[in-house]
Homo-oligomer: 288 residues x 2
DNA sequence: CTTGCGCTGTCAAATTCGTTACACTGCTCG
DNA sequence: CGAGCAGTGTAACGAATTTGACAGCGCAAG
């Protein structure tokens, strides 16, 4: 086990720099030349880079207190990893005065990790392409969700309807689906929310819709719904939660961001619509 | 030599994400969880981290166009090295390769600020008290939302119904409200989602419900709905978004956290219910 | 000049790693 | 319902790495 005094390998090396032999100093110089990347190859690579023999590298590692070269290397990786890690891990206190184990704080941590994890996983060009589809007024939009995700789908529809005409929510009742398919045209866009416990019926529905010529867009979890095979664009999201069920915060996030992107993409047409909606709402309010 | 089309391994993975198998997706998720460090251990480590077998890692590497795992790893190291020398990498990146001004990144920043701001604003004892009310099976729960927040209310109802009996969604159609009031009893709990553009009708409804003896719980924004005067507990949340409309991510967050807290508070009773639900779902699936 | 000590590189053993071959599982299609 | 297939894991092989042992070299002290 490495000593606890100096936290990093670099620090430990500097502390010991007085007691290093010639070969070890060559190694140190080579390592600092681009730290810590230079230490991440095989022991052979490191030795050749510093122009010393392989055992010299091993001897240095042991001198620094590691059990062997792999242990040394793992420490380097851990340091680098910590350095790269998102500052999210900076334990910024969440709910004031509540313990870290409080459900609010645990959920907050999970939500943050899901969000940043999803964004790393996500292809932003797919996102942009979806927004462009949604902004295309020649296309009719249909949004479908399952038992749980139905609320998210409804949320997306509510907002999209404020931004553009021709937006429909696919009914939750599955027996309506066959007749609903009748209204799906060649240029239509179908947005599916499908997260695990994937619904086999929804897959069938997607297949039928695709045969009608509709474009399929999928918002799913990291394990990816089978509908992905039919979709022109898929967004895999992280949805883990410290709970009996999954978290739909990130799907909602995506829905909101898609609406905003859609509005941006067709601002000229949307502007007037939003203004008209405002007027109508005010009238409705005053009228009562 | 790897193909030149996509410059980074991450990019290549995203391009191929549609053609990945289940094990390969697990690897992708694990790799992105801390990219690219997660790929720098031995092939055994990488496999264990993603919970797949060693050959699956190798297969993915070959699928991406590398001659073998070492070639794949060397590419990752090269990327990391380049990234470390560029000061750009200091920017904690959200969506990979997307500019900071991309709507996804702006929304992500807003979501984080809303969440941490809400938690600092929130009284966690009020939260716990609400959870205790929701967990009390002697009380019937009613959840109401407005035009926008209706979806969030529906989401809360869907989940609460899985955890306990006696949970109702107040219908969105306002003309049903008078008759709905008939069913509200003395010990009932009414959860309102009311964020700005507060609905005057909802305030009236809340007042009537309170006169029936129901306990009012309010989830609102930082400007606080007038219903707060009637409520036994209020949770003010931050909901700003870089968009024409407000963000309901934090309200959804609260809904999910409340469900989890409710489940925790009455686990003994809930456990059996969840198990029964599982059984019924499976039967329903197999039965069809 | 010689002796002894410490450092370093060469070599080979042991272990771990990367890779290939094969068998099993679950799904799709006839 | 059975055959075929894609996908996955287990197990064995070969390759590379890591590590220990040993011998040569240089330096310093006697």
């Amino acid at each position: 086990m490495p000593p606890q005094r100096a936290s990093t390998v670099a620090e430990r090396l500097r502390l010991m720099s007085g007691e290093l032999t010639a070969a070890e100093r060559k190694l140190m110089v080579a390592l600092f030349a681009n730290y810590p990347m230079a230490g991440l190859g095989s022991i052979t690579d490191v030795a050749r880079e510093a122009d010393v023999s392989t055992p010299s590298v091993l001897r240095l590692a042991k001198k620094l207190g590691f059990s062997g070269f792999p242990a040394f290397q793992e420490e380097l990786r851990a340091e680098l990893s910590a350095q790269l890690q998102n500052p999210i891990s900076k334990h910024e206190r969440w709910a004031a005065d509540a313990p870290d184990t409080h459900i609010l704080n645990r959920f907050a941590t999970a939500a943050m990790e899901n969000l940043s994890g999803s964004l790393k996983l996500m292809d932003h060009r797919a996102f942009d392409a979806i927004a462009a589809l949604l902004a295309d007024r020649r296309r009719t939009i249909h949004v479908a969700g399952g038992r749980i995700t139905g609320s998210i789908a409804a949320y997306l529809v509510t907002h999209l309807q404020m931004a553009r005409p021709g937006v429909n929510l696919v009914p939750a009742t599955q027996s309506f689906w066959p007749q609903y398919l009748l209204d799906i045209g060649k240029q239509d866009v179908l947005v599916f929310f499908d997260i695990r416990r994937y619904d086999a019926r929804m897959l069938e529905f997607a297949a039928s819709a695709q045969e009608c010529g509709a474009k399929i867009v999928l918002i799913t979890d990291q394990w990816i719904s089978p509908i992905a095979r039919l979709a022109v664009h898929s967004l895999p999201l992280r949805i883990e939660a410290p709970s009996s069920w999954d978290s739909n915060i990130v799907p909602l996030f995506v829905a909101e961001a898609l609406v905003a992107a859609t509005v941006n993409a067709s601002w000229r047409e949307t502007e007037a619509r939003i203004a008209a909606l405002e007027t109508l709402s005010d009238q409705g309010r005053r009228g009562k």
